[in-house]
């Protein structure tokens, strides 16, 4: 036994080498290695690949590289569990910079088990930056192993190895610690080790996530950040990968070998000062991270409660940010990468688990972030922060996405309420609103791959099909209340009163995650984008701008969760112009290349449209795939309508031109629905036109040509659809 409590020698005795690859170590040059690493866990091949000049010019890095490599690896009939599917982790030129907050993100792409199209996740932790400084701009993992394997990238010695690893844990909070104990050469070296892992839940559910670790030397614990959306953890365990591990110990402020280190530091210092000075008066990210949003969303009727039926609850104060602030440890540097003064990765230490296989253990829980509070709290009617914290912990260590688990559980609870489910169908679980113990037990059953846990683990789209086929449930009802689009569960905002956000969610390429656009305030509260054209412009600019973070390896949060003191006096405060200028400055400081605002959007537009065509190539990405469930557009039920009857009656009268007096509620629900669905059709038309797509949502040849991505293989996908 080691000091860590693990029998590392015993674990190592069970290892069996599969293959090894030695490579020449080279310094990063202005943010790029210009090579990627290919690992096939099925046949043991390991190789480095050069990055072509065209790939660098057109795809920039990060998500762009990941998608380009994935396109070349798969074919139109590839399914998520086919061996040719890949998990690609790519960083981008700015990634790894320690001078500007939020510069340590990795972008992960794969063909998703729940959507069948490319999914992308932006995740913190040390793995991506260490991999980059180990020598590679991206890691491409293909194949399926017969037995559990670990891939170890030793960036200090220039060796990549695959070995069978039968004894290591699967659940991430244990495995990440084992990897640190196994590969760190001494105490100081622990912070140089980072791993990627999933968990036992990811073996039994389609909603698996990946955990990227970072060793917190003050807490002396390996902490976890999630690449949550779309089931990449499920792909990971299907490939029988236990962990990807990297070691790199040479990090310093110039590891990116930037073109202008002094300029980079100067721009970074400006933001450091801004955050330290203003954050406690603005979003309190340093105190409690994104969980500060809970009470704000509740106040604006945007916090999902009871499967997105409503946007607020009298019980919501139980989940407000102060409740979680009292549970997390303060005064520690909580950045998920070095140099991030925003430090929003909060953690509760010594949290004693009340349920499950680790019951009684005292653990460090990373989070919860806002999405987890809403998904595993208000949306399922749970207002006990300890239950939310425990769901958060187990989702993470089981390798399950808290957003998809929350939205799926909310759907289960509404199906229970509507009589689709009963205890004979759930294996005795009383899935009533607010039943935290039942939600935890459901989660453990997913972890064990047992009974109704296997059904819930299918996610919302899978459950809709299952309930219709096995229980005779009404497919139309299930479609209306099952909050998924393209197969991905919605993230945690009520979009009923914002047409622009309905589009921001449902037109998002990978499915309804809000990382392309969050327009609810701009649309619903500020009333700033009243026309279809205004909304279309916002649904062009923000998805393009926000895509850029994923090309560079940047976090979105330091863009607009902090603002300069004089931001109010700028002509477009919603875009935070000074921060946009910062991004152009750090891009130039790292790469040496000039970039203006138009160039930034153009970098993104290339990759965005490439991803759109990729979705079409895989069988989705058409107009029909951008249609939301009505629950995300308006009141499905009489109960929902009558809860906000004044609002809806007023809309019928003033917007639809119908006098609601004398109408029954079902009639009013139907009239409002017809109006809202018609407006959504018009929004689709306006947005597609603005993006240079045809009425079916297919990029035109002119659009692809203008962006310089009119490759033969790309045109081959769209041309038959443009006639």
């Amino acid at each position: 036994m080691t000091e860590s409590g693990f029998d590392i020698a015993g674990l190592e005795a069970g290892h069996r080498p599969v293959s090894e690859f030695r490579y020449e170590k080279r310094p990063v040059v202005r943010g790029y290695n210009d090579r990627t690493l290919y690992v096939n866990v099925g046949d043991g091949r390991i190789a480095e690949k050069p990055v072509s000049a065209d790939m660098r010019a057109k795809f920039t890095g990060g998500k762009g590289y990941g998608l380009r490599l994935l396109w070349d690896a798969v074919n139109p009939s590839t399914k998520w569990d086919d061996p040719e599917n890949e998990i690609n982790i790519a960083m981008g030129p700015v990634c790894g910079n320690t001078n500007y907050p939020g510069s340590g993100k990795s972008l992960v792409v794969s063909i998703s088990p729940t959507t069948g199209i490319p999914i992308d996740c932006n995740v913190g932790g040390y793995f991506g930056p260490f991999l980059k400084f180990a020598g590679f701009d991206a890691l491409e993992v293909q194949g399926k192993a017969d037995r559990d394997v670990i891939v170890f990238i030793d960036g200090d010695d220039g060796v990549v190895s695959i070995f069978e690893a039968p004894g290591e844990a699967v659940d991430s909070h244990v495995l990440a610690e084992q990897m640190v104990a196994m590969f760190a050469r001494d105490e100081k070296d622990r912070q140089h080790i980072s791993s990627v892992s999933a968990g036992t839940g990811a073996e039994h559910a389609l909603i698996g996530c990946l955990n990227f670790s970072f060793y917190d030397k003050r807490r002396k614990v390996a902490r976890l950040k999630q690449a949550g959306r779309g089931g990449i953890g499920t792909v990971f365990r299907d490939k029988k990968i236990k962990a990807l591990v990297v070691r790199y110990s040479g990090l310093d402020v110039s590891s990116n070998n930037p073109a202008d280190l002094a300029g980079l530091q100067e721009t970074g210092l400006k933001l450091h000062r801004e955050i330290v000075t203003l954050d406690d008066q603005q979003c309190r990210m340093r105190e409690i991270g994104t969980a500060h949003l809970t009470e704000i969303m509740d106040e604006y009727d945007l916090l999902p409660t009871r499967n997105y039926k409503f946007g607020s609850s009298p019980d919501s104060p139980g989940l407000n940010s102060h409740a979680f602030s009292a549970m997390v440890t303060h005064g520690l540097p909580d950045g998920c990468w070095y140099g991030c003064t925003m430090a929003c990765a909060k953690a509760a230490d010594g949290f004693e688990l009340a349920t499950g296989p680790y019951r009684g253990h005292k653990v460090t829980v990373d989070g919860p972030e806002y999405e987890t509070v809403a998904g595993c709290g208000s949306n399922i009617g749970v207002y006990d922060p300890r239950v939310v914290m425990e769901l958060n912990f187990y989702c993470d260590t089981y390798g399950l996405d808290t957003i998809s688990f929350g939205t799926s559980t909310a759907f289960v609870m509404e199906c229970w309420e509507k009589g689709v489910l009963d205890s004979t169908r759930t294996g005795g679980l009383e899935m009533t609103w607010g039943n935290g113990p039942a939600a935890l037990e459901l989660l453990h059953r997913i972890g064990r791959g047992e009974g109704f846990g296997l059904v819930a683990g299918l996610g919302v789209r899978g459950m809709k099909k299952y309930f219709a086929e096995h229980y005779g449930a009404d497919p139309k009802l299930l479609q209306d209340i099952g909050c998924e689009c393209k197969g991905l569960e919605y993230s945690q905002y009520v979009s009923k009163e914002s047409l622009a956000q309905q589009g921001g969610y449902s037109m998002a390429l990978k499915g309804p995650q809000h990382d392309e656009a969050w327009l609810i305030f701009m649309d619903m509260v500020n009333n700033r984008i009243p026309t279809f054209e205004d909304k279309a412009e916002a649904l062009y600019y923000f998805p393009m701008f926000r895509t850029w973070f994923g090309l560079q390896g940047l976090c979105k949060l330091p863009w607009n969760d902090i603002e300069p003191a004089d931001n109010s006096s700028t002509d477009e405060p919603a875009k935070v112009p000074e921060h946009v200028e910062n991004y152009l400055a750090i891009y130039k400081a790292v790469t040496g290349n000039d970039l203006d605002r138009d160039g930034l959007i153009r970098q993104s537009a290339r990759v965005y449209n490439f991803q759109k065509v990729f979705c079409i190539r895989m069988g989705k990405g058409r107009r029909i795939d951008d249609w939301p469930p009505y629950r995300m557009m308006g009141p499905v039920t009489v109960e929902e309508y009558e809860s906000r009857a004044d609002r809806y009656d007023k809309q019928l009268k003033e917007q639809v031109g119908i006098d609601p007096s004398g109408m029954g509620t079902p009639e009013k629900v139907a009239a409002l629905r017809a109006y809202r669905e018609d407006r959504y059709e018009k929004l689709l038309d306006a947005v597609y036109k603005r993006k240079g797509w045809n009425r079916e949502g297919v990029p035109t040849v002119e659009t692809l040509h203008d962006l310089g991505i009119d490759y033969p293989e790309v045109l081959e996908v769209v041309k038959p659809l443009l006639v």
Binding site: E295, Y300, F521, V525, N560
Partner: protein
């Protein structure tokens, strides 16, 4: 009567920007407030008077996500 983000809102004597924000339950911290196009600094909300008939624009910036 005043207008707040395009919709009518009752006015009263001595009304300040903070009053408007409280009555509309605008609790989000990242706001940009303009009265008839004139920017009101964030530190002045408690004192800044809102004249009858004015057009108050309360822009909520984005955060989260």
């Amino acid at each position: 009567m005043i207008t707040v983000n395009g919709s009518p809102h009752p006015w009263r004597e001595g009304m300040t920007v903070r009053d408007v924000l409280e009555e509309r339950r605008f609790t989000f911290p990242l706001l940009v407030v303009r009265i008839d196009g004139r920017l009101v600094p964030r530190g002045d909300y408690a004192e800044a008077q809102v004249p009858d008939g004015s057009d108050v624009d309360v822009m909520h910036l984005m955060s989260g996500g």
